[in-house]
Structures are given as structure tokens and as C-alpha cells.
């Protein structure tokens, strides 16, 4: 099953959001316009808008209202990707050239700023102060997460807690907020909003851990970048953390080999194989499953509507996704 099959019934509303995304980043300025639409065309799963739409089904669903939350959320995600690519010094994302490689770091920085500002501009149409509060809090936390990622880069002694807190800020929070804001925009009851928030948080954690696993187990073709890229850039994720904790020799080898210079594919392959052999991937899958189980549990308390099934299926999909 493909992810899009799960939310096939939302396709017409998603295409409305897609149109709104295009209209929103459409700038008078040619460079910004090109950079933004380059980003839009690169696609993406639009998973945040999907969460918003599904969550809104638990209230009085009105696509016009829900759109005003879904579009800014996706824009904030897009802007953070642009800024990430500056940080990660990434030339490719989803197999396409990044803005920073097609133009330069400065254009990437301001395109990110521009998309952020557009997102904020759009939320001003929404007359629920709580939406603004939740969204801006999430943005603050995301920035802290980004700075933590810089601080923790090439830090081979970080513990699991630091990793989990970082991915919470970087990924899980915005998914949790997507669920909550969808429900809020549709005036769903407060306990439903909070259940959906926790569902989103747990699914988001599992999503990011899976992403971090795939960086070791997927192929270069599937990833659109060489396997092991995270580790190579000093971004220490769960599989590597676990393996280094259980294999001192591997820890020394990684610390010796990875210092931020050009990737050596053969060395990376050795490291990846050792991480797999020492159980780093299996352990991470377990942790991801634990989060998914918590996500399922949150769904139990919610009313039985079709959107609940879709939420189940998305969680299942994340548990099984291959890239």
C-alpha cells in the first residue's frame, strides 16, 4: 500500500491545499518565486496537511477553515527544510537539487525566511488566538531543536535522551501540532484535541526514528542521497548511538573515520554493516514500535469515524515503510 492510498478520500481537499500552497509562495520577486516553486515541485508527502484534515474530521469539518491551518503548517515545514539544507550542506533532497545548491546559502536563508513570513501572514486570517500561540510555540521549539542539532553534531558521547528530545523538537512536535490544530480549527472537544496531539507526537517520533533507520538500510536510489549521510555529517542518530554504546571498537572506528571530510563509500559501507550487525537497527525498530503502540492507544479513546481508521493505517504504514 502506498501512503497516498490511505488518504485517497481526501484527495480533492489535498489538491485544494496544494493550490493554496502555490498561491501563497507565489512571489512578485523572480528569485523567491523560482526558489519557492522549485521547492514545491520537489513534492513531499504533505503528511502534515493530511494530519490536519484527518484531525478536523473529529469536529465540524470545513475545508475553508481547516485550510488556514494546514497551509501554514506545511509552509513552516518547508521553510525548515530549506534552512536544514543550509545546515546540512545538502546538495540533494528527494533526489532534486536543493535551493542552497541551485542558488546559494544566502538565497536559501531568505527563501526560508520568506516562506516562514508567508506562513505567519496566512495564519492572521484565522481568528483563533490559540492557533497562533500553539504555532509560534512550535516554531520556537523547532529552532531550539535545530540549534541542538548543531551543538550535538560530531558529539559521539550523547545519550538517547538527548537524541529523543532533539527529534521531538525537530519532527514530532510539528506533527503533534498538526493534529491538534486540525481538531481545534474544526472546534473538536478539547480532550479530542489533546488525544490527537499525543497521537501525533508518538507517530512523529516513530516517523523520525524510521527516517533515521532508513538512512542506514535504504539504497542510495531510494534515499536520493548516499546511505549513511546522517552519520557522515556528524548527525548521530539512534541506530548509531545504540551500536556505539554496545561496541567500543565500533565507537572508536566511527570517531576515527568520520570527521566531516569527503565521504568514502567503502568505509561508510563497513560502518553501516557493523551498525546493523551490532543490533542498532533492530533496537531502533523496537523503539519506533513502542511509540507506534502508544499512538494506537491514543486512538482507542476517540470516536469511531473513518478518519480514525486512516490514522491507524498511517501509523501502520510508518511502521512498515521502506523509504
Amino acid at each position: 500500500m502506498k501512503l497516498t492510498d490511505i488518504y485517497w478520500h481526501l484527495r480533492s481537499d489535498i489538491s485544494k491545499i496544494e493550490k493554496e500552497l502555490e498561491a501563497t509562495v507565489d512571489a512578485k520577486h523572480p528569485i523567491l518565486k523560482k526558489a519557492s516553486s522549485h521547492l514545491l515541485k520537489a513534492g513531499g508527502k504533505r503528511i502534515r496537511p493530511v494530519f490536519v484534515l484527518l484531525a478536523a474530521k473529529f469536529g465540524n469539518y470545513d475545508i475553508e477553515k481547516v485550510k488556514q491551518v494546514a497551509v501554514p503548517l506545511e509552509l513552516i515545514h518547508m521553510a525548515s527544510l530549506v534552512h536544514d539544507d543550509v545546515i546540512d550542506d545538502a546538495d540533494l533532497r528527494r533526489g532534486k537539487k536543493t535551493i542552497k545548491s541551485k542558488w546559494d546559502n544566502r538565497v536559501a536563508m531568505y527563501t526560508g525566511d520568506y516562506i516562514f513570513a508567508r506562513a505567519i501572514e496566512m495564519t492572521t486570517n484565522c481568528n483563533k488566538p490559540e492557533v497562533h500561540q500553539i504555532l509560534s510555540d512550535a516554531m520556537v521549539e523547532m529552532c531550539i531543536g535545530e540549534v541542538e542539532q548543531i551543538r550535538d553534531q560530531y558529539n559521539w558521547n550523547q545519550n538517547f535522551r538527548i537524541y529523543l528530545r532533539r527529534i521531538k523538537r525537530k519532527t514530532a512536535l510539528l506533527i503533534a501540532v498538526s493534529c491538534r490544530l486540525g481538531a481545534l480549527a474544526a472546534d473538536a472537544p478539547r480532550d479530542v484535541q489533546l488525544s490527537l496531539y499525543r497521537y501525533g507526537y508518538n507517530v512523529g517520533m516513530a516517523f523520525q526514528i524510521t527516517d533515521d533507520i532508513l538512512d542506514f538500510v535504504a539504497t542510495e536510489k531510494e534515499l536520493g542521497k548516499p546511505a549513511g549521510s546522517d552519520l557522515h555529517q556528524g548527525n548521530v542518530t539512534l541506530p548509531a548511538l545504540y551500536s556505539m554504546e554496545h561496541d567500543e571498537e565500533l565507537r572508536s572506528f566511527i570517531m576515527k573515520m568520520i570527521k566531516g571530510d569527503k565521504p568514502d563509500k567503502k568505509v561508510m559501507k563497513v560502518i553501516i554493516d557493523k551498525i546493523k550487525a551490532s543490533g542498532g537497527v533492530d533496537y531502533s525498530l523496537e523503539v519506533s514500535d513502542r511509540y507506534l503502540n502508544k499512538a494506537y492507544k491514543e486512538l482507542e479513546n476517540l470516536p469511531d469515524i473513518p478518519a480514525k481508521d486512516s490514522f491507524y493505517q498511517i501509523a501502520q504504514y510508518i511502521g512498515k515503510r521502506k523509504f
Copy 2:
């Protein structure tokens, strides 16, 4: 007369804003906290909060309400400075090390994002939707201005219109918005808000043109960076634009000598002297005066309260400031 003398009577409210600025950027995260307070301590004229406070005097002045507009405006300005320093590759600002030189470009980018997000977070306390709209529109325009600055860098054929539009977006708009939002936060009448907006726009244009003049006529000590830095970084401002338009030889010389490599002080001195000799500075002063006169004219329609005098004095100060 010093600028601070003009708004001496506002000092207690300004110190409230200063405290609020500190409290707002105070982050749990050590790097962000250090970077933000480094920035705060570097000071600055806090000219935007001053405009907000003075404009609010034309309505029902309540510092608690006005603060909610003044602090985000200054934060947005600060955030844009941090991102500017990445772009300008500047190591010093106001004689102090920039965040990007004390840490690195990536920390500077996310510190900027963090301060932006904090600004947005704070505006959510303000229950006037118009405030959000005006502020986010200004942020969008500022981003466009920044990208234009990148596009126009080392472009020796740009015309005055392009320069003026760029400084409008980069500087004048946020000052105009400061005036307008101060009046709006204090529920001043709409025509007063709009007069103050236009006053702020004209003063802001004069302010930036003066800044661009000072880059050629002030000393390295006064500027906190070598004279001619703007031109050297390919940022073509009004004095240089005028001189190149009236002196083909000088244009060729500048185009030949300035190509983004290390500054040669002797060559810069020759260029600066030639720009002065060909009337670039005098012409720019005239243009600045034209904007200041428009600013004075806007004030004429406003009620005669002490804040109006302060606005006059600020405009006069900008016309005379030496650094």
C-alpha cells in the same frame, strides 16, 4: 544633542521594553541564550521601540499594551540583523563580534529564526488581528528586500529606483510600521495611524540614505568597520550610484577594482575620494533632505502634543547625524 536626549522622557518605558526584550530571548538553550544576549548587549538605538512609544502617545497610551507591539518589532529588527550578518559575511557590528563570527553561520541562521519565532509568539498576546497582518506583511516585504540585495550585489548598472525600493523594504517599512502599530495599539484614529506611517516611511528612507552616506564619510572608528565596506561587498548605495552615473571613468575603475576579494584600503580611499569629488555624497544628502521634508509635512496634520516635537527632533537628528 544625542538621540537619547530627544526621548529622555520615555526612558522608564524604554527600560521596561529593554527588560522585556531580555526576558523574551532568554532561552533554555545555552547557545541561543548566549547568542541572543550577546546581540542584546551589543545595544543599538532601539529606535523602533521609540517610534512605537511616541506614536502611541497620539492615542490612549498604555505601556502594557504598547509593549506588546514594541518588543516584537525590535526583535524582528534584531533577527534581520543576525541574518544580514550571514549575508554580508560581517565579522563586526557596532564594533562587536557578530554571532556568525563568534559562532558560525548556522548558529546565526537559527538564532535569527529563534528570535523571529519569539517575536511572533509575543504578538499572539495582542488581540488585534490588524497588528498581526501588518507585521507579517512587513516581514514578507523585508525578505523580498533581502533577496533583492543579493540579486543586486555587484550589479553596477542598477538605477536609483531599484536602490530606493530596496531600502524601502529593508529599512523604511519597518520604521513606518513601528509608527503605525504604536498608534494602532493605542487606538489612535485611522488617519493619525496613516499619517504616522507615512512620517515613518519618509524618516526611514532618510535614515537609510544617511547610513549609506556615512559608510563613505565616517571614520573606521565611528563605523566600527572600514569605510566603504558597503561598496566593497558589492552593495551599491546612492552615493556610489550617483557618482558612477556621472563619471564613466570612476564606474570603470570601481568595476575593475571591486570584485569581492580582500579589501585594499588604499584603493578604497581613492574610490571614496572620487565619489565625494563627483558629488555623490552631496546628491545623497539632498535626496535624504527631500524625504525629511516630506516627513515634516506629515507631522503638520497631527495634533500638537509633546510627542510631535520629539518626532520633529528625531527627523532633524537624522538629517544631522554624523554616525
